[in-house]
């Protein structure tokens, strides 16, 4: 079955692996990681500069043609997220925004309520809004109605590499959502990315698992293959499971 790609705003992504720029031991390998992974969208964050040291300009490592996805990390309220989004757009980062509003320092759980409020404002303001949320079906419908371009449910807490702990909840979103579902956070291994795609996720966003691998360039490639395999399997409509065995070879015509 043909995959026409994922459309968000007025951009079509033929590669369904989105990546992040956080936690790389050296930012200089980001362009190579983007090449091996084929990733066409990558996240960046906005921070106050450190006056005591030279800040590395992350944007210089992102080639033209790769869509920037600024996040609103650091925001604790909708208003702060809206401010970061507007700064990012003014600064030339385009219309995409990943809304990330977090008040919980231990588990980094997104604040769904504030995220919805920010989505309402920013979607009206012309942004392509990708809200990072705890998977919750009624909330997803509200986000959709508010104009979110996609829903980004977490698989597990940020940076934990624990995979699809919220799988049944994400499945509900995939089944019922009119907008794309992009699994963000917690995906630690290519097999988990493949599983997310196999169940019908439209894309996955992977940062920590690639950035902190011994070889991020090779891991970017591995994730890319996994996402493609998972997507292909989803489109091929996998057969169901069975508790009892079902022979693959004929059960007749045995030799004596």
């Amino acid at each position: 079955m043909n995959d026409e790609g994922l459309r968000l705003g007025d951009t079509t992504f033929t590669n369904r692996l989105f990546t992040g720029t956080g936690k790389f031991a050296s930012n200089e390998i980001i362009p190579e990681m983007l090449e091996t992974s084929g990733s066409q969208m990558i996240t960046v964050a906005l921070r106050r500069i450190d006056m005591q040291s030279v800040t590395d300009n992350i944007l210089q490592y992102i080639p033209d043609g790769v869509t920037l996805l600024p996040n609103t990390s650091g925001a604790r309220t909708a208003e702060q997220a809206i401010r970061v989004a507007r700064i990012a757009r003014e600064a030339g980062c385009g219309k995409f925004i990943k809304i990330e509003v977090i008040t919980d320092a231990k588990y980094l759980m997104p604040d769904n309520h504030e995220t919805l409020r920010a989505t309402e404002t920013l979607a009206k303001d012309g942004f392509v809004v990708l809200p990072y949320v705890l998977p919750d079906l009624p909330l997803a419908k509200r986000l959709e109605n508010a104009g979110a371009a996609a829903i980004m449910p977490l698989g597990a807490p940020i940076g934990t590499n624990r995979g699809l702990e919220t799988k049944p909840l994400i499945a509900m979103l995939i089944e019922n959502s009119a907008v794309p579902v992009i699994v963000d956070a917690g995906i630690g291994f290519p097999s988990q990315a493949a599983a997310a795609m196999e169940m019908g996720a439209d894309a996955v966003l992977v940062n920590t698992a690639i950035a902190t691998a011994e070889d991020p360039v090779a891991m970017g490639h591995a994730f890319s293959l996994a996402v493609q395999a998972g997507r292909a399997a989803y489109l091929a409509e996998a057969a169901g499971q069975s508790v009892v065995a079902r022979a693959s070879s004929p059960l007749t015509g045995f030799l004596d």
Binding site: T21, A45, I49, A185
Partner: protein
């Protein structure tokens, strides 16, 4: 004059944003500057005059997920 720069009080002799950025000694290529909650593009830094108690945010894009 006394400004709030990135949330901290800062005394400066600078009269414009451009002078302030030079005074602090920042590389400008990736700098995102907010003056009293308005983004100021680089070509307007020299024309943007500072007043006592102004709020300046000096920001940049960094790695993040």
């Amino acid at each position: 004059m006394l400004l709030r720069v990135n949330g901290d009080s800062q005394t400066t002799a600078a009269t414009t944003l451009e002078e302030l950025i030079q005074e602090i000694g920042l590389k400008t290529e990736s700098l995102v500057v907010e003056h009293n909650e308005h983004i100021i593009r680089q070509e307007l830094w020299a024309k943007t005059r500072l007043q006592d108690q102004d709020q300046v945010e000096l920001l940049s894009f960094v790695g993040g997920g």
